[in-house]
Amino acid sequence: MIVLQKVSSSKFLTIIDMKKASMFPQCDHCPVFRETLFRNCPANVVEDNIKEKAYYTVPRGKLLFMEGEIACGVYCISSGFFKLRKKGEKGRIHTFDLAKAGSLLGTHGIMSRDSRFSVTAVALKNSHVCFLPKVSFLRLIHKFPDFSFQMMDHLCSQIKYMENRTENIYKMSHEQRFAGTLYLLAKRLGWKEQDILDFNLPKKDLAELSGVGEKTISRIIGKIRENGKFRNMAKETGILDWDWFRFCCL
């Protein structure tokens, strides 16, 4: 097994506190393989081509990779959730996306000319990831034209998502932006049961995702909770008024 270079680098030792998992999962036994970008390639072929793969546990709140760091490879989320964030001016953090199991992180970092990650990935709960070295990943792209098209399609959809969010911030009210964030949570992280989101984010993250201040988010939550459109309790977030939600997001 290849040991991550960046883990051995003292600069990043404090950032990543990953533990090697006792079980080393194979792609053909991976429960989320069908949700990954590799789904159109035979699992055994992927496994054969990425022999140098590594598997790690990332504890909640720890960084998987950091903005500006050299991208040695990509990370395939086996289980758990991550938030993707970027440092803005004067050190302010902006969370702009969420990723769940099956997502591939860091793809555009290895593709770019400077080979650096443009965002930071932070685990929202204890998560497991497979690390695929850059060389192996690029070999897969060269070998399988279908996979390269899949990759391009993935990058296209990511750009479209970013542009849509930019457009929303540009023309939507704060309340609509918050509804858009709930929609993103539902889409990215899924539902626990009917109308209840599978994951509850702190107000700080909701504010960062919505592109508004924390105080504004508190005010919006208070207002729409009073109106009975939305439920926000200690451990769960639910949408009660779907008409309002659809009106804001769709």
């Binding site: 001016e89 004067k90 555009h108 593709m111 690029l138 034209p145 750009i159 911030i169 540009y170 592109g211």
Partner: protein
């Protein structure tokens, strides 16, 4: 609205250096020259419309183009500016979706058009070209991420200073030292996501502070370092 003129040849095109076609051999380029078209667009003319299906790739041979999303009450949002050598419409082409934005000529342009089937065939035949397209996507994604973060965090003044620097970087300067782009105040506002009135106010402030000089649509940067500091960018 098209003029009759000779279609430029890919194998002798200066814009090819550094583009996604730079890795192609002479034979492949000659084949492309045979199969592509080239059109002339007048200033303001639309090249493609948001929501339409893509039938091919546009490669700018000459001129400047704005790519924008339609907004309410004429408040369009300019998402990108393209110049000589840039390609347009590649995302809709590869994803098979409709155009997410429209493109219009800022000045008179000559744009080559490569059909969808030919472009996809080249992507399959030349893996090096595929890698270059992916690099382009990665760059676009990085820009989109930065733009989103900027929009949520940067005040209008910083965004305006950044936009002026970005436009100069994209289009360069003419012989008199003015930024070589004929953008209206409304187009400036659409780039930074604000109203035309606010854009005018900040441009006037920069002029008063002697950071820039303005003569109609012509803008000249007087103090590049100060403007970069205003934009919170490194020189």
């Amino acid at each position: 609205m098209t003029k009759k003129f000779d279609t430029p040849l890919c194998e002798v095109c200066e814009s090819r250096v550094g583009s996604i076609f730079s890795s192609l051999g002479k034979d492949a380029l000659e084949e492309m020259s045979m199969q592509k078209n080239c059109n002339f667009y007048k200033r303001g003319q639309t090249i493609f419309y948001e929501g339409n299906r893509s039938s091919g790739l546009y490669c700018v041979f000459q001129g400047k183009i704005k790519v924008f999303k339609l907004g309410d009450e004429g408040r369009d949002q300019i998402v990108r500016l393209a110049k000589k050598g840039d390609i347009l419409g590649y995302r809709a082409l590869i994803s098979g979706e409709v155009y997410s934005a429209s493109a219009a000529a800022i000045e008179d342009c000559m744009i080559c058009f490569i059909s969808r089937s030919l472009f996809l065939e080249y992507l399959e035949r030349f893996p090096q070209m595929t890698m270059k397209v992916m690099r382009l996507f990665s760059l676009d994604l990085k820009k989109a991420e930065s733009r989103l973060t900027d929009l949520t965090q940067k005040p209008v003044r910083e965004r305006m200073a950044e936009a002026i620097c970005m436009i100069k970087e994209t289009f360069g300067v003419d012989k008199e030292g003015n930024i070589d782009a004929n953008l209206t105040r409304q187009e400036f506002a659409n780039i930074i996501g604000t109203t035309t009135e606010t854009a005018i106010r900040f441009l006037s402030n920069f002029k008063k502070e002697k950071l820039i000089d303005m003569n109609g649509r012509k803008i000249r940067i007087l103090d590049q370092g100060a403007l970069l500091r205003e934009a919170n960018l490194w020189d």
